[in-house]
């Protein structure tokens, strides 16, 4: 019994050293800060997977608008179908499948486009229209009031453009206008 106790005691000691070794090796390099997942809007190719791959029923990804990049166009290519039947705001002429993109008149000839977030499903249809033919001011972001910060974001795994990465939690958004300036 004594020999067994001694043996397990020394094994316990070496396992504790091993745990300490892991701790030391990892904390030693001081990069230990909290991270969250975020989309790099410049890498995103608007594939549409953000709407379907999130573990949440309604994706944590939403469209955001960098207003200071927007042209306030009357004929927004993120808002209207490429070939609308008539130029009015009827639902069949809108790109957004849920009517989450809201168009409001400011003054001639400017219109402002805002996102009604609860309706947005993050499908990137508007983003694609805006990026291909407009200023690219609409883009996707993971919204941290919804995201549960999975240990491995399942959209990141599915993203064909490798656009989703861990970012420092104290800088959790990558708005296009801000990223461009920096």
């Amino acid at each position: 019994m004594n020999r067994r106790n001694f043996l397990s005691g020394s094994l316990r000691g070496s396992l504790m050293l091993a745990l300490g070794g892991v701790l030391g090796a990892i904390t030693g390099r001081a990069k230990a800060r909290n991270t969250v997942w975020q989309i790099d809007p410049f890498q995103c190719t608007q594939c549409g997977r953000c709407a379907t791959e999130c573990v949440l029923e309604l994706s944590a990804v939403k469209c955001v608008h960098s207003f200071d990049m927007c042209g306030y166009c009357q004929l927004c290519t993120g808002y209207f179908e490429p070939d609308p039947n008539k130029l009015n705001t009827a639902a069949e002429n809108q790109l957004c499948p849920t009517g989450a993109l809201v168009r409001s008149f400011i003054e001639d000839p400017y219109y402002e486009y805002t996102i009604n977030e609860p309706l947005c499903v993050g499908c990137a249809k508007c983003v694609k229209g805006c990026t291909m033919f407009g200023n690219g001011s609409l883009h996707l972001q993971i919204r941290h009031d919804r995201c549960v910060n999975c240990n491995e974001c399942s959209i990141a795994r599915a993203c064909p453009a490798d656009a989703i990465h861990r970012v420092p939690a104290d800088r959790p958004y990558q708005f296009k206008s801000r990223e461009r300036k920096s």
Binding site: A25, R33, Q43, T45, E57, D145, N149, A161
Partner: protein, 419 residues
């Protein structure tokens, strides 16, 4: 490579109204103090369960903490981050020096192991939400035959090896991808994973904690730590009288029978079997290395970069005409295809090396398992197997000594079979 932003249309010049440009909102991330609260709750729960199991010897206390853990770490924290998954963050950090790990991950990964070194697997008893959930649905335990139990337990060791390989090479977190219970805690997830989780729970009504015993990679590490723990579950509070009443009380097959009245094998056969297995061990390891080398290429194909390089090679050679989203995205940015090929080659090599190690590991584990089965230990008491015991405290009240201690009626002691 950030593409230049197209400013096709000039910004608006408001003249009639003094409209101000709105700014997008930034909903805050989860507050840091909540992370620290999680660590505090983890440590408090570990201390409480260790006390309940080893000192109070209270099964109902363990169940109570288990319900709390399912609610707090499971449904409230949505199962993320958990100790099981943290193995991957830690492995990735060990192999990739640019990858940092926050305090929560370190705490969830290392503190339960430290506790296991002293108190056994009290984390599994009621702190881990995965284990606690399975423990709650276990209503009609049936016994898994020994040979099946031992073989299935090997799966967890293999799973651990593969998870480390993928995490260390940056190929993804398979423990998270195939986690059966997090979709249940979140009440959402892919249909396959929800079905997997639900069916494990249904099986778990009869088979004690199938995920813990046969799959959980963290349980493997906890088992190693617990096998040399300082204190441990003792079925009897006093001395074992060989009454055999506890024999079938463990739902997880973790009670080692006393060998007092087992017929002993002739020593010569024992020895021959042992020598045979000792010779077999290096053969198993070599075989594992060989198979690992073969499997490495396949595993590498799961990595995004290797996968993309293979696809681009097909497209370049004209074997396929169309493009995938990934290859189109790659071509849209101005990336160098040569660099990608070089990265993919380097990764391929890393995978083959890692898979060889993993193969050696699996060979070693199988060999040691066979050896440990062949060595007959002379036990004089009925004891809980330190590595496999989940500290659930179910067996305590099957011991008449314990009932006596508690002042409860003691059932008639049956005669030992061959006494």
């Amino acid at each position: 490579m950030p593409q230049v932003v197209a400013q096709r249309f000039p910004p608006p010049q408001f003249t009639e109204t003094s409209h101000l440009l709105p700014v997008p909102t930034e909903p805050a991330v989860r507050a840091l103090w909540l992370d620290y609260l999680d660590i505090g709750v983890l440590i408090a729960a570990l201390v409480l369960v260790s006390w309940l199991v080893l000192r109070r010897r209270s099964r109902s206390g363990v169940v109570g903490v288990g319900i709390f853990s399912v609610l707090y770490f499971g449904f409230w924290r949505k199962g993320c981050i958990c100790s099981i998954g943290s193995i991957q963050n830690l492995s990735q950090a060990l192999f990739d020096s640019s990858f940092g790990v926050p305090l929560t991950v370190l705490a969830f990964g290392l503190v339960p192991l430290l506790f296991a070194l002293f108190f056994g697997r009290t984390f599994c008893a009621a702190v881990c939400p995965h284990g606690a959930l399975q423990d709650l649905v276990l209503l009609k335990p049936v016994k898994v035959p020994n040979w099946l139990d031992h073989s299935l337990r090997m799966l967890a060791w293999i799973y651990l090896g593969l998870a480390v390989v993928f995490a260390a090479t940056g190929g993804g977190y398979i423990i998270c991808q195939y986690d059966p219970f997090v979709p249940i805690f979140r009440l959402s997830g892919s249909l396959t994973m929800v079905l997997f989780g639900v069916s494990l729970l249904v099986v778990g009504i009869f088979v004690g904690r199938p995920y813990c015993r046969f799959l959980c990679p963290y349980g493997v590490l906890l088992g190693v730590a617990a096998s040399v723990s300082k204190w441990r579950v003792r079925i009897t509070p006093d001395t074992c009288t060989q009454c055999r009443l506890c024999e079938e009380s463990c739902a997880f097959g973790a009670i080692n029978k006393s060998a007092v009245d087992a017929p002993s094998q002739p020593r010569a056969t024992d020895k021959r079997r042992l020598i045979l297995l000792l010779v077999l061990l290096p053969v198993l390891i070599a075989g594992g290395i060989g198979l690992g080398g073969l499997a490495g290429g396949t595993l590498a194909g799961k990595h995004r970069i290797v996968n993309l390089a293979e696809r681009l090679q097909l497209e370049e050679s004209g074997a396929v005409q169309d493009t995938t989203d990934a290859s189109a995205a790659f071509r849209a940015g101005n990336n160098s295809i040569e660099t990608l090929y070089a990265d993919a080659r380097a990764l391929h090599h890393r995978y083959v090396v890692a898979a060889r190690w993993c193969g050696a590991w699996i060979g070693l584990v199988i060999g040691l398992k066979l050896l440990s089965l062949a060595i007959v230990r002379r036990r004089t008491d009925y004891e809980a197997d330190q590595a496999h015991c989940l500290s659930c405290a179910r067996c305590y009240r099957s011991c008449p000594q314990e009932l006596q201690r508690l002042g409860l009626p003691v059932p008639e002691t049956p005669k030992p079979a061959n006494g």
